[in-house]
Amino acid sequence: MPQIGRNERVRVSLTLDGKKVSGLAEPRMLLSDFLRQQLSAGAVHVGCEHGVCGACTIRVDGRAVRSCLMFAVQAQGCDIETAAGLAGEDGELDALQKAFRKNHALQCGYCTPGILMSVTSFLDSNPDAGEDELKDMLGGHLCRCTGYVGIMRAVLEYAAARRA
């Protein structure tokens, strides 16, 4: 049974966007801070640290969750995905990112990576989700720039393309 003292910094190893990586964390370090500060995961954005805004949303073992509401030590051995893993090695955007660009679904871009993770996670488990369900999923994210219009268009377009 792993036990970690409050002042101990332990090595946390995990898979980040397909690569095995590790960093040091004390028990109280938030997963969001760990990913950003120890693993340079710039696609994790911190917006509220109380689980409401959704900017820090990542996928943990496939599921979209708030990384500000998890501790780094809890992610030991987990498969973590962030929006940085969507684009190809050559930087080519994936279909969801392209749909976001085409539909002007982002302005400042701060909320975007979290939304991308919710969308891919949700459609992986609900490939036939309709507009209402997609809206419900997007309800877990705050965007202050776009009024959600472009986001909804992009997500609908992407969901339809995936089904096709």
Partner: protein, 275 residues
């Protein structure tokens, strides 16, 4: 904001968790989904010496039917319950209530038992537990005991759990075929804490109505016979009894108004979907 320091224990079995609880007692807290607790730790509203993480105890991650009840283990996520294929048929109230809980992103991590342990006055699952007369299974190194919802829920954020105990499972009685169920809540933004939440179970002539968000714990009222013409009067009496309170989202009066008006809606809906 960032949490205060704490020691971390990752329990891999129930025994390990109970050992750690026995050792640390009131100095320790169980960490399950953490969707309320971690936010409160971040705000430093909660401080704890030790966090015992039970999310990896596989034996506690289950949904099963046993002795006429749906039993849900302490590591089971709200999403898993929501997506459990038999839910609408077995416990229709939970099927109705789960979509109201936070968002898919928080349900993906939040646990059913964690929500009940946290006992937020506005939460959906404690209300379901109360109105369905469910049970909470508490384990410590000393013993196991089972408490009825009414005996478990004491005050706002306060339960009958002893410091060395943890919830290992909750049990919701299976819906009987003759009953109708309805759940609704009012909030200013979908997925937020309810200003008032309501759950109704209708049988033959009787109605059982639970209300969350107006008192420290869910409040339940039974009417063995409630004629349509008497609903308003009954709800008005109940609303006044509950009283309600003011906060920035609604006044006490508004809460009573919701008890009267949404109360009627959920009762009628429950009656209409009686099988």
């Amino acid at each position: 904001m960032k949490p205060k320091p704490f020691d971390y224990v990752r329990a891999e079995t129930l025994d390990e968790a109970l050992d750690a609880l026995a050792r640390h007692g009131a100095d320790a807290r169980i960490l399950a989904g953490g969707q309320s607790q971690v936010a409160m730790l971040n705000f430093r509203l909660i401080e704890t010496e030790v966090l015992i993480d039970i999310t990896r105890i596989e034996a506690l991650d289950y949904i099963r039917i046993e002795n006429g009840a749906l039993e849900i283990g302490a590591a089971t996520r709200q999403s898993d319950l929501k997506d459990w294929p038999g839910l609408a048929e077995k416990v229709p109230m939970l099927h109705a209530a789960l979509p109201f809980i936070g968002h898919v992103q928080t349900r993906n991590r939040g646990t059913v038992c964690g929500s009940i342990a946290h006992s937020d006055p506005s939460s959906e699952l404690p209300l379901c537990l109360a109105v369905l007369e469910g049970e909470v299974v508490l384990r410590s190194k000393r013993a196991e005991r089972t408490l009825k919802a009414a005996d478990f829920q004491l005050e706002m954020l306060t339960t009958a759990r002893a410091p060395d105990e943890m919830i290992t499972a909750v049990r919701f009685p299976l819906g009987d075929a003759s009953a109708g169920h309805a759940f609704d809540e009012m909030n200013r933004r979908r997925g937020d804490f309810a200003i008032v939440s309501l759950a109704a179970v209708a049988r033959q002539d009787s109605v059982r109505l639970g209300v969350g968000g107006v008192a420290g714990t869910p409040k339940v009222r039974n009417w063995s016979e409630l004629r349509t013409g008497d609903i308003d009067e009954a709800l008005n009496a109940f609303a006044w009894e509950l009283g309600g309170h003011d906060d920035i989202h609604g006044t006490a009066r508004y809460r009573r108004e919701l008890v009267r008006r949404l109360g009627r809606q959920v009762i009628e809906e429950a009656r209409s979907c009686r099988r």
